[in-house]
Symmetry: D2
């Protein structure tokens, strides 16, 4: 079997020769040892992209949250620790994740149930189901009342973007946590504490929006302004890039939050006409394949054709087809094993500055266009 | 092989004994003949649920649109014909479907391309890709300019819900269609003509929202109010049920538009405290399975535990796991083969009345609660 | 919006501008009209590849069957008509599809049931379930007895390949059909009549294999020889190509039958050392994505690197991600609408000739190698 | 928020309140801590079912292997260690997993490549691709030659089942490993050493079968007997149950190996008429959903209606929808952390005894039937 011919350039990758798995291995070592091919390898590459590149000091990390993450306990096991470690800088979430997160901050409980349960029986028993998670209907009613009560306060009687709404609401949740001697239970509370801005792309869609809509019907003055959110998120990305930093997106699931973190770049380039090249790092955990027509499954390569992703950075993109309920704990453990905490950026406090930078850049473009028209 | 014992009650379904498929069969006959089991059968049951029950005269049909439906040509092949036949009464769509729909109304073109294309080359050539669909970057810029131009008009300098925005914008698209001698190309234009309200659950998320955000930055007065949308959509469902009609939801894909059509019932029951039982018919076409944690995959059975679906109507629920690009043409052809057109309901024109009915019902609840507290 | 710059070469595909769907459309016209993008378009391309290229007179079509196709009625609605039209030339099937096919030929019945049924109750009631298909446990026992009885006959007391076993068994099923005045119910019977060879890649795996294993335990002489099948299927492909014809594979599902139809080419090239270039047309209907590690999801592009698919013919490959229960009726209707019947090839009768051609080709290689060693 | 009413019985599950994830956590602790819902929870339950119940001393564990497991390095990282720990007792594998396993035992290498590679270029460079794994075409030719050479030996000139073939072939691989000073690289070698029987359900399907088919064409005497395999595997399960032990199946993927491990019970009950109740534990890792029609996606509940699974043991069934490349390392690490090694059963050496037990049981049934007929 002597073979003297030179090995093909295609065979330059690491040889597949893992060590045996052992019971005492840390999660991070297991990923590095045994995740060699297919989605296992994609997950290892996701871990490495996150820990080695996205968590570099000069990279701003935006995260999008879809799927029932907080009901599954991933708020307190992963998302809050990631915030505390400075590993995420801004978030776009479904309202549902923030609404259910609030239960934990209010001392309300969710339980492991069964996906095979009889829903008619559950309905009769006043139990609500999210797949294999059960909780009392009372949990909904209490949380609804909590949001209505806080939003009747004077500070909410005005139009605002959703980051501001969540920040202000987060203070109430944090207070409740303090009273109940809880800590690290609520993402909203943690985001408030770390001045991390949380946006939602669909402000009316979720029980939070539903209760605020009722207040609107009752005549209260709160209005949520989704257009402000568009500009603020674009400003976060623009400011990072304008200051020589990189922009990374970490997408859990897909849906409109995925699009919302990605559309920041076309907002800058296509709509405003400000020169930019796209996000630098793209990491997505999803079950949606590209062929089925949803945005959730659209690839980073496709995003290049829209200017959402910098074409030169395409190699720094990973899509892993696996549940977030499996991937997020592994990625979190990996990042914590391999990276020291970063100083939290507290971007919420810098919204005005960032927005001004973007507005100034746009004004320059407008003036240039006006001059071009004149001459 | 003599068998005298009585047949089990489980064996009472239709026997599987289809006729041979022939080339001259209509699509509807093929579905009835050959779609016997698995997702084939689910699709046949979807066709029948839609044509036989959801399209009964006393049923109000809400539809949610996610995935790249209009870019795939399904606006002009299916959605507009469904509107013209009175087969859909209100819609919740992603902004992207409405934005790309507008291209066709403006006489701009999209082309069949290849999902395997080199996106860096496409980017250089100024070509944008949605999976296997290509179009000129200029199409984006032109459509952006169109939306900015119309939204600078006086009629838009105020806060409004998205149904109103889409209705008003639809008039401009319809005019452009007329000038260009096009017809039946744009869903927005058709919805305007038929006074069919179109909502979006994420008003800032899409190129429409992005351009409106730019106008906000420029100082214009348009604000989109997602909370109004919550109340209007709940009012559509409440009004139908209060007048003894049924409410049906037809969900293409999932995501926040799915939740938005479904949350109308918890808004009425849980948040407002008005007695109601849930939607009567539930039809979803999706690729998202229940086990993966997204709302897209949540089942109608689970929705029962939330009060979204009337538990007594659970048998009238169908979920079919197949691409909308395959299912929607088949369901459309089936409905047109089996059902006469219905008179369009023109719900957009009745928003005030429906909202008043819902507000009155809520006022009754409040007064009752106040009395209960006093006594 | 004047645009004078020349259109990109990327925008040369058909413009997306479908006609409205109507109720009287044939299935074939619906596919051509409305299936424009994503898996809808893949399915239209599958239809066209099959009807326009694979069914050309000079192309030999091998089909692999996995998934519960015959229980779903697709044997009598699609597969038998395809055989009768000369649209398929040889088949590799799971044993299960042939076993359940036999029920229909014996006059036994399967029924539409429910995938939500209580299986413990079904077990008690003697009802067996295949997803949403129900049948009496007696159907299994009767079909088991039928196979044991026929395989005790003298003609079966010898080793044979599975094509021979299925052909011989098919005669018994055909006779039973005649006695019961049934026609067109059983694939095994139809394949016997048309001398179409049916192989199985896993001869022990299925109730047919299980019953034959019992006969072996009882001391009977039938032995199934999977190695004969390997050579016979390679010979079918080799013979077609050696006579200037094309070889097409039509894969429903995946699994070992997929590999078995594809491995014919490596058998010729890699194992025998006979010069060949690979299959010419590749059509697969599956739900298995490439990233998950199964052969079912392996792409035609990957197959090129193995020599399974001729690299020059890669454009003539289509993979469509949709259930066979939806795709097969549509493809069948399309082919029948667009193609005249072909003369059946009766390949079963030509196994000896084809095997000799392959053996001769291998002998030439061996002699050449021997000469090379000597000199 | 006072709530005095008693909590519903549905809310008796563990409360969702995980600790924060930390970098130094072992994989097993991470699974126990953070895998709370959806497929994360299913994977935790899979780990526990395996470690706590299936690995009890009195349980015989059959494993089925599909998908590119050995090319992904999972043979040496997980499967061989599981065998060495006595955590698996018999195996049904695709031929492909055993063929590619052999490369490692022969000192041949596979490399991490890219799933996006140009396959036409790979073909030209003589590089073969399995998704994101690359290797030299020479690896195939060398392994082919190895199998042809060993199977020309006298000991192979007879009919045999596949366990015997793999056991005998395993000795050659083990010898080669010794010569090359390798250890723990090849599953075939390890199975030989531990007398663990490995079956394949599709003996002709894979490069092993292809090379043996060539020997048949050359006139050699080896015949593989799939019917023997049916009886031997049924005997393993029957013997375990007859001796008061439990039978567990651990299914990686699906396909014909899944059916082959499961059909042992219908073989005993339905075909032989011997009283038995079904497998006791069922653990499957797959991406195939039940609705798509393949056996891979068929649920343990459905298997109850066939007698494959003991209905009383249904709660001891877990299906987890995730790649084996992610699940297998986690389950392996978990089992090793939580369970001491078991004494290897060396079932290969006991085939004759087990087969006799099954034959005797069948003889009893036959005699009883004969008596019943007479009287």
């Amino acid at each position: 079997m002597a073979k003297s011919k030179p090995m093909s350039r295609f065979l330059g990758g690491a040889s597949i020769e893992p060590r045996p798995v052992r019971g005492e291995m840390t999660a991070a070592d297991l990923v590095d040892t045994a995740f060699m091919a297919y989605n296992g390898r994609r997950l290892r590459e996701a871990c490495r992209l996150f820990a080695e590149k996205m968590l570099a000091p000069d990279t701003v990390v935006g995260m999008s949250l879809t799927g029932a993450l907080t009901p599954a306990g991933l708020g307190m096991s992963c998302l809050i620790p990631l915030i505390e470690h400075g590993f995420v800088d801004w978030i776009v979430s479904t309202g549902a994740n923030l609404y259910h997160d609030t239960h934990f901050g209010l001392g309300l409980k969710m339980f492991q149930g069964s996906a095979e349960a009889d829903d008619v029986a559950l309905r009769k028993a006043g139990v609500v189901r999210i797949y294999d998670i059960f909780f009392d209907y009372h949990v909904l009613l209490s949380t609804d009342a909590f949001f209505r009560e806080l939003a009747r306060n004077e500070e909410f009687q005005q139009p605002m973007g959703t980051a501001e709404f969540h920040y202000r609401a987060g203070r109430y949740v944090a207070e409740r946590e303090r009273v109940l001697k809880l800590r690290g239970k609520s993402l909203l509370a943690a985001a408030h504490e770390y001045a991390l801005p949380i946006y939602t792309s669909s402000p009316g869609d979720s029980s939070i929006g539903m209760n605020l809509a009722l207040l609107e019907m009752e005549g209260y003055g709160l209005r949520l302004d989704p257009l402000t959110d568009v500009n603020e998120t674009a400003a976060i990305v623009y400011s990072a890039k304008a200051h020589g930093m990189n922009s990374a997106v970490f997408i859990l699931g897909g849906g409109s939050p995925k699009n919302f973190v990605l559309q920041t770049e076309p907002q800058i380039q296509e709509v405003m006409g400000v020169a930019e090249k796209g996000h630098d790092y793209f990491l997505q955990i999803t079950d949606a394949r590209p062929d089925t027509g949803g945005l959730s499954g659209a690839t980073p390569a496709e995003a290049v054709s829209w200017g959402k992703i910098d074409p030169d950075k395409l190699p720094d993109s990973v899509v892993c087809y696996v549940d977030s309920t499996i991937a997020l704990p592994l990625i979190t453990a990996y990042a914590m094993a391999r990276r020291k905490p970063r100083k939290p950026r507290r971007l919420y406090d810098q919204r005005a500055r960032m927005l001004k930078e973007l507005t100034d850049a746009y004004e320059k473009v407008r003036r240039k266009r006006a001059r071009a028209k004149v001459s």
